[in-house]
Symmetry: D2
Subunit: 391 residues, 4 copies
């Protein structure tokens, strides 16, 4: 047995996504036999106390308080960007120029212009790059991709995607970073809709035109913990403006002729993480919901009359993607496994010197759609998405 | 077109079941083209005001205050028995002796001895007879029968049936007739479990032995409206003894080698009419629940790997039993249609001079199982059910 | 007891909707004690053999082969229009001018101009008028209306409605009347989307603006039974153009500030009659699906932490609208009962000399939305809906 | 910060359960801040090649080929027994005598006599001991326990538990170790039913009497990989006798007066790991199914009329047990997390010098019920379970 190539990782940011990525690096070699092996070399964050404690807790060998230092280090092969969106562009370009492989959280950037420069940078540098659209790595969704590629659903006519959360519905919830345009670029749109757009591109294909609306229900919020998540606290009796969308919806057409209807909102009371879709083809349909992510509903026209109906498949069989590496059928996996599966592909990509999808090009094309929806919401017109050939 | 034979019906009792039967007589010719046509000739009940009002409301041409009078009438072809259980035996035997066809509510009788005499009477008289186990006539269940008969589920290994209600859980709910042994013979057992037993006999086959337990959680109740249903009122501060079972469960073996587990209770909080079962065979399984009675879940081993799962079939397609007579697929039917379907079979039976199942023999064999469970509960032993050959 | 007022009905058309209406007239007095009593006086249809047979089968006392004759008859109080859409305007105006009460199938007309004239006619004549949006009369939906009116869901932020069928997906399915613009005005839009629009207006309120897309997937179909439904046969090797939409989707804003996303398609494989919606308010959410129409899912923020979740309510309790007239809790009703409930309201309306909703004004306002979506699909722009004050 | 106490673990066996335990030791410190910290010191297995490779793959620092050697080692504090059932007794007693803490897989032993000796040994040694009934540590189930303890379900009347799998239904599946009495003691009974019994004892209380049946559907099987799991291969054309049960069911009574109905089978086609139960109390009910383990259905009588129904709670909120340590609400966890949660309790137990439940006494009492069911199946009689006071 030859010693396996080690990939020394430097991660920037250590909150929700940093935790998810860290866990996946730890767990990957337990479940898989990846072509290259990640080494949890260092993390970076501005607050020394916070970053040291996170490093210790999550198992990173060292830490930096300036991400630039991480990129300078020779003992880092892969930069993993888990920061808020506004920092992606500078870090990614610096990392690419330093010849580091890059895994970047979604959305890729604040806008198409940034995304384009990031894509150019990784292409020029020739480094392996991925964007962390982890839902592609749910076994059930991976399996839908197989069904569609194998023609089992026939010609795709419809996709309807809905991504609903409800954590900011209280008007007294503070103005956290996810509600600030300068930090995020957009609100629900880049946070949730970006995932639905990625699933649509993955499963149905490229968008040709979109027509959307964006809306902010609560336009002023108390100031408080900017960096906070679900439990962020109000810390002031002053308020600030919410300048991002609370909800977004758009109509779409796809290259293959399918119609799309997409909606995302943080005002979907009762939906904690309701990432759902249904796809209808000429020969079959599928339905999926993240809150029961192991289950997939599949309808096949080929079933005999009388026995036609949506099957609820617990996608934990050996034949389903990735699940053979975990537990016997019927023993479900969870949210965190999507990151493990993604990293497994990233390690293969690095070992084989290629950029497994979804990569920065996917992130860039996702950004094209995000921005087209924003523009259509402003202009109240349909907006075209350039095809790959037209770029 | 020849004039269709008219079947003049005389119904005894006009409460919950009387309403369900009356509606079905009215509706049958609308949806079906039955071989014989029911005519709503007369109903009988002891309270003149009540029976007159019921006749008018439900569309019966006349009424009697003594059921014997109904049997004497020459213009009655079919006696429909919707009384409490303790009146079945006398009415049925009198009706048979008068040469009337008979539809009898379940359970057939208070005990095996009565049931045996009733069966003898109809056999001797040669009249068409049925027992009103209406759940056999749910399209989804009729379809399960087809699947099993066609071998689609293979050898049957297991049936588990559960029938849960919760309407008497309040200890202050009064001692209605359904809680009195002298009126009913048993409580939950004859009321709910009789249905589960009938479905088991219909779908899996004959029982060979049973071993059960019966229990009464609330042993004293206030006196009140004896004749009442769900909304019966307490009318006294005196109490009486509940001498029937609140809950019953039993283990069973079937002639074909299958194992059965059955449970019925009126103390199943939150289950209004939770009549459910699952059957597992060597090649497939089915699951059904009355509260969503149009749906059937079917698992077939023959499905390819990866696509195996329980299908939720909305049994409203033309290919499903009876449903072509109602509405297009996806437009569901309800509880009352089970009685219409049953009457359709009864009318065919009369026209063809035969006794479509479930008939008095089914009622009798059901009673054998009911009584065996009761005896096993008392003796705390397994009790054998005689096979048809042994009777 | 005073004799109850009789309402003598003349119905035009006797196919799918004619059957549903006929059954409801028959069944209404059995379940309800309506303020006025319908009498099934006559039906009209062009084909004498067909209409005579239908009258006999469904219980109508007489028939006509010209609908004008029906309107002339003095022994008809109520005209029930179950014809294809292109005949509605002429019949309704003639009936109004003859002083008949009117029940009209949906959509009210082929376009706003017709609908406007029909509304003027009934208003001028002062007759009771209703449009047959039967889904408003599903107990679960009626109950949602109560919850919203009582403020239980708080401010409404979102409604997403989806109505999917799949009966015309086979490209060899013939060009039936529902696929011809001259007969229907539109395809899926007027047939299915009109229902979703009605539910939205009923539950959320008036639309202010819409932005839609309409699409025809199969543009040529073989000629065949024009009058057919799901089982229509091809009768020619010639084809004709499909000039109506197979699918439609639109974004919307409501007067109260809510956002709407609506989609209807006859290309939703596996969905036989998938009429579904979810509404999210500041205090709660509801979900409903016609294929399990008795069930309602309700989420209430007021539930204590840990116990928050969507409840599946089987809306068959006495406290739910209409269901006390049918069966005990847990014994479900079906599609046909929506028509019975609607007729119950219609009879009250006539007895009280008013027009219970949904009436022709609702039909007219529905048509405004339908037409606005069509125009937006053509112009690729948002289209405003005039408010009631602006009309 | 004081250095945390290290608990050096020696694990015996490294197949399915060994993998689940190993992963949990690795993951525990990432998610929790346990009172003592496990160190993956050594594993033992007979096959040197296998055990070395497993140690390397799963992250154990060393290995032994004789479990006795592991117990002799001074650098081991905790012995984790993941072997087949027939080895438990000898290992556990030796470990206790060596003063090691013990975690033992279920069922505790082959029979009550062994279990009794094991319990005596740990009690005498005063070591912390647990049995690995991991389903107690599903957040949803932990939450049910809270609801019951808080009286939210009222008096418990019923529990029905069903545990169905289908992996040995093919008659050509070989005679693996789980089908051999000398290795397992029993079949489905000790493997699956032991879990249902534990959940019943945890949630409802102690059993007083049971009455069961056990059955073997396939009595001869081809010889093959004895040590195999789901994918075990046939390796011979000779067959051997299956001397354990394929299916088991029993009726039960609990100390608190509740009735129990339990069934477990490996012949439940379509059920991969269908571990399910429903509990009905005087004030509420719960339903749970392992295949969607994050969801819990709860019915509460206190809900207002009209709004009563089973709520589907995604038990991933901060308020639910353990889940605050993982991900935000709506981001589900899986099977493996049950072991992490259990180890968290084990580490607390060791740190606090006590035996957190379920411990060897729970294993012993579980064995009493298992054996009582076996005896009742043979004697065809009810069998009493001694109460704690009677022991």
């Amino acid at each position: 047995m030859t010693a396996k190539r080690k990939i020394r990782v430097g991660m920037i940011g250590y909150k929700f996504m940093g935790k998810a990525h860290s866990h996946a690096y730890r767990d990957l070699p337990f479940y898989f036999d990846p072509e290259a092996e990640p080494v949890m070399q260092a993390i970076a964050g501005r607050d020394e106390e916070g970053v040291r404690s996170a490093a210790e807790k999550m198992g990173w060998a060292s830490y930096e308080t300036d991400w630039r230092r991480l990129i300078e280090r020779d003992d880092i092969d892969l930069i993993d960007i888990c920061t808020p969106n506004n920092a992606h562009v500078e870090i990614a370009i610096a990392a690419a120029e330093a010849g580091k492989h890059i895994l970047c959280e979604k959305p890729l950037a604040m806008n198409v212009e940034q995304a384009s420069r990031m894509l150019d940078a990784v292409n020029k540098a020739g480094v392996t790059n991925m964007i962390c659209h982890n839902y592609r790595f749910v076994p059930a969704i991976r399996y839908v991709k197989q069904l569609i590629d194998d023609g089992r659903l026939g010609t795709i006519y419809h996709m309807r995607g809905t991504y609903l959360q409800d954590w900011i519905m209280d008007p007294n919830f503070p103005l956290v970073w996810r509600l600030r345009k300068e930090v995020c670029g957009s609100g629900t749109h880049g946070d949730l809709m970006a995932h639905s757009i990625d699933l649509a591109r993955y499963l149905v294909g490229e968008f040709t035109e979109v027509n959307g609306m964006m809306h902010t229900f609560i336009k002023e919020r108390p100031l408080g913990e900017m960096s906070g998540g679900l439990n962020a606290q109000v810390q002031s009796d002053r308020t600030g403006e919410v300048d991002v969308d609370d909800a977004v919806a758009f109509l779409a057409r796809f290259e293959g002729g399918a119609l799309g209807v997409f909606e995302a909102s943080r005002f979907g009371k009762g939906n904690r993480n309701g990432n759902r879709f249904e796809i209808n083809g000429s020969k079959g349909s599928v339905r999926w919901d993240m809150e029961n992510m192991n289950n997939l509903e599949v309808y096949l026209e080929e079933d005999e009359k009388g026995l036609q109906g949506f099957r609820t498949i617990n996608c934990t069989e050996e034949v389903h993607p990735y699940t053979g590496n975990y537990w016997p059928a019927g023993h479900i996996i969870g949210y965190e496994h999507t990151f493990i599966n993604l990293l497994h592909e990233m390690m293969s990509g690095i070992a084989q010197n290629k950029s497994t999808t979804p990569n920065f090009e996917d992130g860039y094309r996702n950004q094209l759609v995000l921005e087209a929806v924003e523009r259509s919401s402003e202009s109240r017109q349909w907006v075209q998405i350039p095809s790959k050939g037209e770029m």
